[in-house]
């Protein structure tokens, strides 16, 4: 009986440790948005053409100028960005903003008029336009913007967005 209890205790301890480690790994993944930028060919057809640049809240104005006020009010912690190319045709910029919480991501997302967006299933809420995709997932706000219109862009954005969404993993 004592041996059985000990085994159960050991299994519980191991399970607890695994859960702790998993939670730690997940937390680390959430804290490093740079890791959420897919590498080249992680998403079919997409190549990353630049390094990820990250701007902490105090320096975010250097990247988004006056728009930063809106993000600061919504509790932005940092913004990260990288350039991508789809099949050597569509050039795009991906931005991931890490907010303090999901309300902050929703605040920025909801401040933008939906216009002629197509609603799509991605993250907690998403809008797909002919030349861009915006979605939020947990405390992250993700924006994919192409330089030019292309018939292939919207579906390609969705694929890239889903790749990013999986990495954000909340």
């Amino acid at each position: 009986m004592t041996g059985g209890r000990s085994t159960v205790r050991s299994i519980c301890s191991v399970a607890f440790c695994v859960a702790l480690l998993a939670s730690g790994a997940c937390s680390r993944r959430q804290q490093d948005p740079a890791a959420a930028f897919p590498a080249s060919n992680d998403v079919a057809g997409w190549t990353r053409t630049s390094n990820v640049r990250t701007f902490e809240a105090a320096d975010l104005w250097k990247y988004i100028d006056g728009e930063v006020e809106k993000y600061l009010k919504a509790g932005v912690q940092r913004g990260s960005t990288a350039d991508y190319k789809f099949q050597n045709k569509v050039e795009a910029v991906v931005d991931i903003y890490t907010m303090s919480n999901a309300d902050g991501a929703a605040q920025v997302f909801n401040s933008e008029p939906p216009g002629d967006a197509k609603p799509v299933q991605l993250g907690d809420a998403a809008r797909l336009f002919s030349q861009s995709l915006v979605f939020r997932k947990g405390r992250y706000l993700v924006r994919i913007v192409a330089y030019e219109e292309s018939p292939a862009a919207p579906q390609a954005f969705l694929a890239l967005g889903r790749g990013i969404g999986q990495q954000l993993g909340e």
């Binding site: 104005w61 250097k62 988004i64 100028d65 006056g66 728009e67 930063v68 006020e69 809106k70 050039e91 910029v93 933008e112 008029p113 216009g115 002629d116 967006a117 336009f129 002919s130 030349q131 861009s132 913007v145 192409a146 330089y147 030019e148 219109e149």
Partner: protein
């Protein structure tokens, strides 16, 4: 900084009254034709030049068409028969000309490369040496990312960011602002041609000529509260900005009516236009109205209803600043 002793205080005051102080204070006789014309009409001229097929079938603007559009705008502004004639009223050989572009919006939404090339071509035809032309903004990497070719040496046109030369050590102040100026502006330019982009701006309401000068100071992040008012007007009162800026050529080929200043294609339109004026206040007023018309067309509230009307424009025109006029009765908008 080289000054023109030929400009009298009376000239300065006269042009202040007509809202073109920035045009003549550093330029003297060469620009007086335009100033006299403005004075006689008591109006600031703002030229809006459009070409509906500026892009042809492509998404980027056609170099030859943008050159023609620029010529049309400049000749209309200066009443000149030939392109070179209008540019010779703007600049003189030996002057060092700074082109302050806006490269914040990346490749899709920065001062148009073809437009900048066209301006450089005309400046050289007017007698400005290639090495005396400097294309600049805050950051070299930003310029590169926007498609500009960086060049810092030789007899070629120069193109680099203030990060290469730095900012002056001493603060210059006016009203609510105290800033260190880009050494490119303070040391390397006699004349400033302002090349902003027509944008909605989340904080200021709109961003064009006056707001683009945030790119020549070291601390623009300090001046975004209260709709950037009175900061934008105060920044434009800093002597090197006020005395060197002769002309604004606003790139309105692609413009945004919402979600700015970053590029949000869903709130942008292919406007295929240039807005040109020596009066940055009048230009900002005209550009603001253009954005409001597009907002109305899209069913959006006015900027005032959204509590972000660009109040800085009125401040720039007030008795303390006199950087130009925001009175529609004193603005002559010429559409070509």
């Amino acid at each position: 900084m080289r000054r023109d002793e030929g400009t009298t205080r009376r000239d300065f005051l006269r042009t202040c009254i007509t809202g073109t102080a920035v045009l003549s204070v550093s330029s003297g006789g060469a620009l007086l034709d335009a100033a006299e014309q403005t004075s006689a009409l008591a109006k600031s001229k703002v030229v809006v030049a459009r070409d509906p097929v500026l892009r042809g079938a492509a998404s980027t603007v056609d170099s030859q068409r943008v050159l023609k559009l620029l010529d049309q705008a400049m000749q209309t502004l200066f009443g000149a028969d030939h392109p070179a004639e209008s540019w010779k009223k703007m600049v003189r050989p030996g002057e060092r000309v700074g082109l302050k572009v806006n490269a914040l919006g990346g490749r899709a939404f920065s001062s148009n490369l073809q437009l900048v090339e066209a301006i450089c071509e005309r400046l050289q035809e007017a007698g400005i040496k290639a090495r005396d032309i400097i294309i600049f903004d805050r950051d070299t990497e930003e310029l590169e990312r926007s498609g500009f070719h960086i060049s810092t040496e030789g007899n070629r046109i120069q193109c680099f960011g203030t990060d290469q030369l730095g900012y002056e050590d001493d603060l210059v102040t006016y009203g609510s602002v105290g800033s260190r100026l880009s050494k490119i502006l303070s040391r390397n330019c006699d004349v400033l041609i302002n090349l902003p982009v027509l944008k909605d701006h989340d904080g200021a309401g709109v961003s064009m000529a006056l707001k683009n000068m945030y790119g020549v100071i070291h601390n623009p992040n300090k001046y975004h509260p209260n709709g950037c008012n009175p900061y934008i007007a105060d920044v434009n009162m800093l002597p090197d900005i006020r005395t060197k800026m002769r002309l604004t050529i606003c790139d309105a080929t692609t413009a945004t009516y919402e979600g700015g200043p970053g590029y949000k294609p869903q709130y942008s339109w292919k406007n295929n236009a240039l807005i040109v004026s020596p009066d940055p206040v009048a230009l900002d007023y005209v550009g603001w109205q253009m954005i409001e018309r597009k907002r109305a067309e899209k069913g959006l509230k006015t900027l005032e209803a959204e509590k972000r009307a660009p109040l800085y424009i009125a401040t720039a025109a007030d008795a303390q600043h006199r950087l130009g006029t925001n009175d529609p009765k004193r603005i002559a908008v010429v559409e070509v």
